[in-house]
Every structure is written in structure tokens, then in C-alpha cells.
């Protein structure tokens, strides 16, 4: 399957997870832990979370803007570049979601521009 991919897609599905893991460890692990299990009573688990397994656009938007639900406070991570965001979300979906699915840089760019336009 890899051989049939374009060069860009290979980068997204092979190089990105390693880069994504580095970003996860830098920016996410402190609260969500290396297991992705979060902190009981404080930080939600990512494992099987509907945010992680669900719509890519919703996940990208959530991480860009931060989450302020009734029990959840998460900072915004809009300082990540589109490429970094794609890499870390690819890692998160692969590790804690339904398996390997690439979140592309283009997709992050589109969601970010939609959010910027709606402000």
C-alpha cells in the first residue's frame, strides 16, 4: 500500500507519527500522560475518546481553540504550525483512536482558516 502512495502521503503516514510523538511528549503528555489515559478526576482520557475517534475537523478545531466544557479546561494550541498539528493529531489518532489515519497539513490549514474567518 505504501508503494502506491504519493510522496506526500508517505510522509504523512510514516514520518509524521514519529514527529507527532515528539510533539505529543512536549505539549500533551504533561496532562494526558504517556498512556493517553489522562489523570482521573482531572484530565480526560484520550483513549477511545469521541473527540479522538470522531470528526477530524472537530478535533483540529478543539485543539486550536481550546476546550471549555462544563468539566474540561484545555488551553488552545494554535501556536503549533499546521504541519505540527497534523503530525501530533495523526499520532494521537493512531495511538489512542481507531488506528492509523493521517490528519493532513492541508486539513489543518483549512480548519484554521475557517476559524480565523469566523472570528
Amino acid at each position: 500500500m505504501m508503494t502506491s502512495c504519493t510522496g506526500t502521503l508517505i510522509q504523512e503516514t510514516t514520518a509524521a507519527p514519529f514527529e507527532g510523538r515528539v510533539i505529543y511528549e512536549r505539549d500533551c503528555l504533561a496532562c494526558h500522560m504517556s498512556s493517553g489515559g489522562g489523570v482521573p478526576g482531572m484530565t480526560p482520557t484520550l483513549i477511545g475518546s469521541p473527540w479522538v475517534t470522531g470528526s477530524e475537523d472537530a478535533l483540529i478545531g478543539f485543539v486550536l481553540t481550546g476546550g471549555f466544557g462544563p468539566e474540561v479546561l484545555m488551553a488552545r494550541f494554535d501556536f503549533l504550525t499546521d504541519h505540527e498539528m497534523a503530525a501530533v493529531l495523526t499520532y494521537v489518532r493512531g495511538e489512542f483512536g481507531d488506528g492509523p489515519t493521517a490528519v493532513t497539513t492541508d486539513r489543518v490549514t483549512r480548519v484554521r482558516s475557517r476559524l480565523n474567518a469566523s472570528e
Binding site: L29, A30, M33, S35, P40, M42, G66, E71, L73, M74
Partner: protein, 438 residues
């Protein structure tokens, strides 16, 4: 007179830095738990030689503080945390056949999520998120039949650091911790690059301790209370000592130095800092949050990075209170207690037990805390070191993920016979500990 921090204290804690969070004191102290002794899997905790622990009860709920009535009934507060526990209120437990295990268990006030419990003049005081209640008992009933009264209400609704812990002095004043609803009063919650707010609006009705009349009811924070001290992020552990004639507390220090300021802090510094601080509560004292934090490695209070600090810049002498003891970062002191009984050896008398719930914000380094320590006192101040009184709770030698901890200690209380009770949070377990001699 306010003596400086005993010099040895800071030195000892510095010595344990970057050694996996276990200090030389913990290992070598003759009164500490024997770190080479096995931990009984069923009991799940380890206490020093000469002590015996039993599982007093396993309760379904997210546990908080304990207190014990004069007749030996143990009361255990339950709250609700994200995704954990739907049972709330207060659990009353009695061990009628004196085998170290509760055999009569009742529940009440099950509509209130709460944390702090203490008896005062026969009433049971219970701190919830926005009210402080008290319950009256008739005779020796386990469950209070008297009307539920509000001692103080009107505390702000908040999602973070909402537990209303409290302490009552010997002059019928009640001091209530109103936690600050953020990490460090940034303009945006835990957001890299967001500056700290000055003045910090979270210190107007929060981020401090408010004083009320312990015997009055229907008081409101804004109407009847006076802010007694400020700059306190969240004093989960508070206790008045009759012997020392002072009110002591420990706060939960701020988090995320590395995540928010990677240019100033590495992972080891961010795990170890800031200190968890023990203080004496002083009227009009400012304890430094959010503008500063205490750094036990440098032995000084430093300017917080949200307010222009770089991890080394100190603050003007005399502006803020100095801790009387410091502990490694993020250990999360959830309760403290002065021992006043005779069941334990005399060296424990009027010293402080401190319960460290255990960290989450030391990752990627292993987590720390998850233990009960004993701090011997010399007159009104902590002595030169402390010792581990109970450990093993976390169920692993090295814990990376707080979610994997078997138990997390959260409270300690003394029974009328001078025995001790220790509670866990998420697991709902309560242990009884007594001294049995050699």
C-alpha cells in the same frame, strides 16, 4: 517572632533532587517505613516497624477527608470528580467488635459533594464546593437527625480548586480556604505566551483564606467574612494546633513551568518546582500566588514567569510570607493533622502528619508523593527533617501515570484512642493504623 526556615530542611530536600524523587532522608531515617520491606498486596500500604495497618473499609465513591467523633465513629467525605464517583455526601462507619474493620456503615447528605470534615462543639462541619454546612446529632446516633444548617454560603461557583477546606481555632473562628480558579492567573488559561493578570482578579474573592464565626449560621462570604490572608492558590491541608497556638496550612503549588516556559525550565526543574509549602497562617499575610513561587533548590521565593520572572529572579524581602517547611513539587498536600494522642510513641506528639495525594505534573519524569509523611516539630516549627510514615499506595515502585495508581492517600484523622485513620481518594479505601510496639 517568626523564625527563618530551619536551614537543614531545605538542604535535605535539595539533596534528593533528580534522584528519582526519593530523598536520602526517606531511605535512611530510622523512623521511616523500611523501604526494603515488602508491601502486602491486600493491605496495599506499608507503615513503620511497630505499627499495624488494617483495611477499615472500602467505600464506593471518590473519597476526601476523614474525621472521627469522640465515640469512635469515622466520617468520610465523598465528592464527585470528572468521570469518577456518583456517590456523594458523608459516610459514617463504626467498628463495633473492635477488629479494625468497620462493620456498620451508613450514609447521609448524599446530595452534597464535599471534602472537608471536622467536629466543633458537637456539630459536624462539612465543606462542599460553595457552602459550609453543619449537622447536629441527638445522643449517640451515627447519622445526624438534626437539621442541616449553612454556616457560610455565597462562595463563588468555580470548576477548579473548588473544595472549601477549613480549620477552626480555639476562639471559635473558622478559616475557609477559597481556592484560586486557575494555575497562575494568566489572561488565558494555561496558554503559552499569555501574561499574568495584574492585579489578579482571582484574589478578590478567591486565592486566600476568609475568616467567619464558627458558631453563626447563614453567613455569606461577601457580607460576613473578612479576607484573613491572600496569595494562597489552594490550601487543601489546614489545621489549627492547640499546642502550638497557630494555624498551619499547605498549598498546592502551580503547575506547568516546562509546558508554558520551555525557555526557562527543563523537565527536571519543572517536575521538582515549585515547592509544596507549609506555612503558618498570619493575618493579612500574602503568600505569594500568583506573582511568585517558592524554589527550595535555590532556597528563595522567585518571581513567576507570568510576571516577568525567569526562574532565578527573586522578590523583595518581606513582601511575602516564608514557608516553615518545603516539599518537592506537585506532591499535592491534601490534608494535615497534629497528633495529640497517647497511643503512638511520645515522639509523635504535637508533630504533623501530612498527606500527599501524589503528583500528575511531574511527567515525563516519574510521579511523586502518594505517601503520608510525619514532620516532627520543635516548639512551633518543623524540625530539621521529615520521615515517611506510610507509602505503597500507588501500587508500583515507579509510577508514570496517576491513573495507574492503586490508591491515592488524601486524608488522615485521629481516633479517640489515639489510633489513626488514613483515606484514599479514587479507590474509596480507609485504613486504620495503630501502634503495637516491637
Amino acid at each position: 517572632m517568626h523564625r527563618k526556615v530551619p536551614a537543614g530542611l531545605t538542604l535535605i530536600f535539595s539533596g534528593c533532587l533528580f534522584a528519582g524523587g526519593v530523598s536520602a532522608v526517606e531511605v535512611s531515617h530510622s523512623h521511616s517505613v523500611d523501604s526494603s520491606s515488602p508491601i502486602d498486596r491486600d493491605l496495599a500500604i506499608r507503615v513503620p516497624a511497630g505499627f499495624r495497618a488494617t483495611v477499615f473499609a472500602d467505600i464506593d465513591g471518590y473519597g476526601r477527608h476523614l474525621t472521627v467523633r469522640d465515640d469512635g465513629t469515622v466520617y468520610y467525605a465523598l465528592t464527585v470528580r470528572l468521570g469518577r464517583g456518583s456517590n456523594m455526601g458523608i459516610v459514617a462507619m463504626r467498628d463495633t467488635d473492635d477488629d479494625g474493620v468497620a462493620d456498620v456503615i451508613e450514609r447521609f447528605a448524599t446530595d452534597i459533594p464535599g471534602t472537608a470534615l471536622q467536629f466543633h462543639d458537637g456539630y459536624l462541619y462539612f465543606g462542599s464546593k460553595t457552602e459550609l454546612y453543619r449537622f447536629a446529632f441527638a445522643g449517640d446516633e451515627m447519622v445526624p437527625s438534626g437539621a442541616r444548617e449553612v454556616v457560610v454560603g455565597g462562595f463563588p461557583e468555580q470548576r477548579l480548586h473548588e473544595a472549601k477546606t477549613f480549620a477552626i481555632d480555639d476562639d471559635h473562628n473558622i478559616y475557609v480556604n477559597v481556592g484560586a480558579p486557575s494555575n497562575a492567573c494568566m489572561e488565558e488559561f494555561r496558554t503559552r505566551g499569555s501574561p499574568g493578570q495584574r492585579p489578579c482578579p482571582q484574589t478578590v474573592v478567591q486565592g486566600g483564606v476568609w475568616r467567619f464565626d464558627a458558631d453563626a449560621t447563614d453567613q455569606l462570604q461577601g457580607t460576613h467574612g473578612a479576607r484573613f490572608a491572600t496569595g494562597i492558590r489552594n490550601a487543601m491541608a489546614m489545621r489549627w494546633s492547640d499546642e502550638h497556638q497557630r494555624l498551619y496550612f499547605l498549598t498546592h503549588g502551580r503547575d506547568a513551568l516546562l509546558n508554558l516556559y520551555p525557555e526557562y525550565f527543563n523537565a527536571e526543574e519543572s517536575a521538582e518546582l515549585p515547592s509544596e509549602e507549609m506555612h503558618i497562617l498570619t493575618e493579612n499575610g500574602d503568600y505569594g500566588w500568583p506573582f511568585t513561587y517558592y524554589d527550595h533548590l535555590q532556597g528563595k521565593r522567585v518571581l513567576a514567569p507570568e510576571y516577568g520572572g525567569d526562574g532565578t529572579e527573586g522578590v523583595e524581602d518581606g513582601m511575602y510570607q516564608e514557608p516553615v517547611a518545603t516539599f518537592p513539587g506537585h506532591w499535592a498536600p491534601n490534608d494535615m493533622m497534629f497528633y495529640t494522642g497517647d497511643q503512638l510513641p511520645s515522639r509523635y506528639r504535637d508533630g504533623a502528619f501530612v498527606v500527599f495525594h501524589g503528583s500528575w505534573n511531574r511527567a515525563p519524569l516519574p510521579q511523586g508523593g502518594y505517601k503520608v509523611v510525619f514532620v516532627p516539630f520543635e516548639a512551633e516549627l518543623p524540625g530539621s527533617d521529615w520521615e515517611v510514615f506510610a507509602d505503597g499506595f500507588k501500587g508500583a515502585d515507579v509510577l508514570e501515570d496517576p491513573g495507574a495508581a492503586t490508591h491515592r492517600p488524601t486524608s488522615i484523622a485521629q481516633g479517640p484512642a489515639g489510633d489513626l485513620y488514613i483515606s484514599s481518594s479514587g479507590s474509596g479505601r480507609v485504613w486504620r493504623v495503630e501502634y503495637i510496639g516491637d
